[in-house]
């Protein structure tokens, strides 16, 4: 049952003095309070120490790819919202990006700016609530989480005003956006963005120097640089392991080359939960910088290019990817000349980041397994698809 590539410590049944003991097998999940959805970890415990761990998923599997292969290109756009339901905007974007590559549609400039604004707001939403959930897994009584939700609420209001929905935004279209933002939206967005750093200061004061958080997270769930690259880890988790790789910088998709921003990454000595937590905290500050530039530079114009309503691309294969808050979100589309994609594949960052869960958890305490899972930042809608 165990993966041969992982290094398992050679635990055996302890038999001393004729006393027969065995390992405690605990099935954590699928309805455990802190497995972030219907995720299960089959954990073998020696006392409190994790000896073996097998992630089990698929409880939320709905064969999103097959569904999408049986409907038109546009119709699977709302389903992408449901992948990573925290970040529907970036999911939309990744899909739109891939489809736009397929038919080569130009996106108007205002739409590009709005896309960047939406994506960075999404990143704020994701990171701020991830940190909240993470501290919740550490055992805080939801206080940081509720502070995070307080701020998230303001951003979700912005989403609702623009797209009509708070989480399942379904806002992006091939060649732009569904509709322009309403009057006064940009000012409200500026207001939210201007006040966000105050909240971050408060948040950092609450969390970043707390001795308990420091000692709980440092040295826990170490992920080496080499393993992170080999295992295809992406996003903040990769940068926490000391690799400077951000698709916004590498691909320069959309108009990210117009903004000045920095990518925080650790020195790669440990790559533990603390690094992953801090990289996200620092990334939020950079997102605010991008948002300020984008909200300052946005001009007037149309938001939807001349995309055809009936979408019938020529046979081709494309792979479009964006830096979603959780990592590289890619869409691999194969068109065969019909209105439906022949092959539609989602490259889910959450699932692939889980590859190293076992390696990080072995030898740690059971309480650490929970926070390591929390620091990976998974959403089961995306893992199971």
């Amino acid at each position: 049952m165990s993966s041969a590539t992982a290094i398992a410590p050679n635990y055996e049944l302890i038999q001393q003095d004729g006393l027969e003991t065995s390992l405690l097998e605990v099935s954590m999940g699928p309805h455990h309070p802190s497995t972030h959805g219907v995720f299960r970890m089959d954990v073998k415990l020696d006392g409190e120490t994790v000896v073996d761990l097998q992630p089990v998923f698929g409880y939320l599997h709905r064969n999103h790819e097959k569904l999408a292969e049986n409907m038109s290109y546009l119709a699977s756009m709302p389903f992408t919202d449901r992948l990573d339901y925290f970040n529907s905007m970036t999911n939309n974007w990744a899909y739109a990006l891939a489809a736009e590559k397929l038919v080569e549609i130009e996106v108007p400039e205002r739409a590009e700016y709005l896309r960047v604004i939406m994506a960075e707001l999404t990143r704020l939403v994701n990171h701020v609530s991830l940190v909240g959930f993470f501290i919740n897994d550490l055992g805080a009584l939801g206080t940081p989480l509720l502070y995070a939700f307080r701020e998230r609420e303001k951003i979700l209001d912005l989403f609702e005003q623009a797209s009509g929905a708070r989480m399942m935004c379904n806002y992006f279209r091939f060649g732009g956006l569904r509709n322009d933002v309403p009057e006064g939206w940009l000012d409200r967005a500026r207001d939210v963005v201007d006040r966000f750093p105050d909240f971050l200061d408060e948040y950092e004061k609450l969390l970043c120097e707390n001795e308990i958080i420091l000692s709980r997270t440092q040295g826990v769930g170490n992920l080496s640089r080499e393993l992170a690259i080999s295992a295809g880890i992406t996003g903040p988790m990769l940068r926490a392991s000391g690799v400077n790789y951000d698709i916004r910088k590498v691909d320069k998709y959309s108009i990210y080359d117009r903004f000045l921003f920095r990518v925080p990454y650790s020195d790669g000595n440990v790559g533990d939960c603390y690094d992953r937590f801090m990289v996200r905290m620092l990334e939020m500050r950079e997102s605010i910088g991008i948002l300020k530039q984008a909200l300052g530079g946005i001009g007037d114009g149309p938001v939807l290019g001349n995309a055809p309503k009936v979408f019938k691309p020529k046979p081709a294969e494309v792979y479009g990817r964006v830096e979603a808050p959780k990592g590289e979100l890619g869409f691999y589309l194969i068109a065969d000349g019909t209105p439906k994609p022949y092959r539609y594949r989602v490259r889910p960052p959450s699932l692939i980041n889980l590859t190293v869960l076992r390696d990080m958890c072995l030898g740690q305490k059971v309480a650490d397994a929970v926070i390591i899972l929390g620091s990976i930042d998974i959403v089961l809608g995306e893992v199971d698809r």
Binding site: L138, G139, L141, I212, P264, S266, M278, L282, K365, A367
Partner: protein
């Protein structure tokens, strides 16, 4: 048994049985309300008195909530897992409540009506402090019983954690109380409280302060309060030892936990915070009870505040903290207290101040050193930025 004795027993026990469960109901409301406000929520504000549905102006800040909770608990189904040990599953919550209620008797509470009625104060036991620790120790047994009888792996883990934690933290708890016992020279709770009259609270001495801090931290662990709520760590082991409890059994556990909270806070007040001492006590003796309970609530407020702020420790760090930090510190504190107390007996004002400052410095430096020794590499880090 004479009628008088029965009367005395009733007079002495009934107030405890009435006051503290009432305070428990109030405390659950207070905790929910305070935590809600800490988390920028409103908290219970609907259930009024008497249990009005939409509250409105009769909601009284939701004070009816504990009553509604209690009624809900009473009428909930009592679920026992199929393979559980039914007898011990039933006994555990009762056993958890009894020691907590029992130790309330040793608190030097003076009710105004008992004074005139009782020939002797029933609970003025000479070995009160010892008894207190002895009886609170029983709580561990109840918790492990619950964990074992539930036949649930999470419960078992919670029970095992509880045993390890409570036994470990009892040592610094007792050792920090030893300082006060040394100063007073008595184990009698009332005598300890009386020794602190006229603002001579032990918390105002350096060794008393250190002992109080250790006592408070250890008591948090002893009653499973955040950040030491490992036996019931929600994010790791569901609800720990009471995962499989529902309905009134759960309510008993809950009650036991809060009563234990009152009891240990009451002991902390007795040992370090002057007992019932406070302004106006000399004129109105019953005010001392009010002061005593007010001090208990001050400590409970801090506990709630801590619960709203802090995450939980890990199990090995928890044990390390007890054995490698609190234990050496409390032993050092006893030594420091012994020497300093003798030194300051003959000293004048300035010298006394110097001794006290020196004591504080020694204790703080030791604590800091122990902290460094225990976690040498734990500190905030620097991060790089790529343009």
């Amino acid at each position: 048994m004479s009628l008088d004795l029965i009367r005395d027993i009733l007079i002495a026990t009934v107030p405890l049985l009435v006051i503290f469960p009432t305070l428990f109901a109030f405390t659950t409301w207070l905790e929910r309300k305070a935590l809600a406000r800490i988390q920028n929520r409103v908290g219970p504000n609907k259930v009024g008195v008497p249990l009005t549905r939409y509250g409105g102006r009769f909601s009284l800040f939701g004070l009816g909530q504990p009553l509604a909770d209690g009624i809900k608990m009473l009428f909930k189904e009592n679920i026992v897992p199929r393979d559980a040990d039914r007898l011990f599953h039933l006994l555990a919550p009762i056993l958890a409540l009894i020691p907590a209620m029992l130790v309330l008797c040793f608190l030097p509470l003076e009710f105004p009506w008992t004074e005139s009625l009782l020939p002797v104060q029933a609970f003025l036991l000479d070995g009160a402090v010892i008894f207190f620790f002895a009886i609170t120790g029983l709580n561990t047994l109840a918790i492990f019983m619950a964990g074992w009888a539930s036949r649930n792996k999470y419960s078992l883990l919670g029970g095992m954690r509880a045993i390890a934690q409570m036994i470990s933290y009892e040592i610094p708890l007792v050792l920090s109380a030893v300082v006060v016992v040394m100063m007073v020279g008595s184990l009698n709770a009332a005598e300890i409280a009386n020794a602190q009259a006229d603002w001579n609270w032990f918390v105002f001495t350096p060794w008393g302060l250190a002992a109080f801090v250790i006592f408070f931290i250890a008591s948090l662990a002893e009653i499973n309060r955040s950040p030491f709520d490992l036996p019931e760590a929600e994010s790791e082991i569901i609800a720990g030892y009471f995962t499989e409890y529902s309905g009134f059994k759960f309510a008993l556990f809950f009650l036991g936990e809060y009563i234990a909270m009152f009891a240990i806070s009451g002991l902390a007040v007795t040992l370090f915070l002057g007992g019932g001492a406070g302004p106006g006590v000399a004129a109105l003796p019953w005010l001392s009870t009010v002061w005593f309970i007010a001090k208990i609530f001050a400590l409970i407020a801090v506990m709630i505040w801590l619960r709203g702020t802090l995450p939980r420790l890990r199990v090995d760090q928890l044990m390390g903290f007890a054995w490698k930090f609190l234990l050496p510190l409390s032993i050092l504190n006893i030594i420091v207290a012994g020497f300093a107390w003798h030194a300051q007996q003959q000293a004048s004002g300035i010298l006394k101040a110097i001794i006290w400052v020196a004591c504080l410095l020694i204790l703080y430096a030791t604590a800091k050193g122990l902290d460094q020794l225990n976690r040498p590499n734990v500190r905030p880090r620097e991060y790089k930025y790529a343009e």
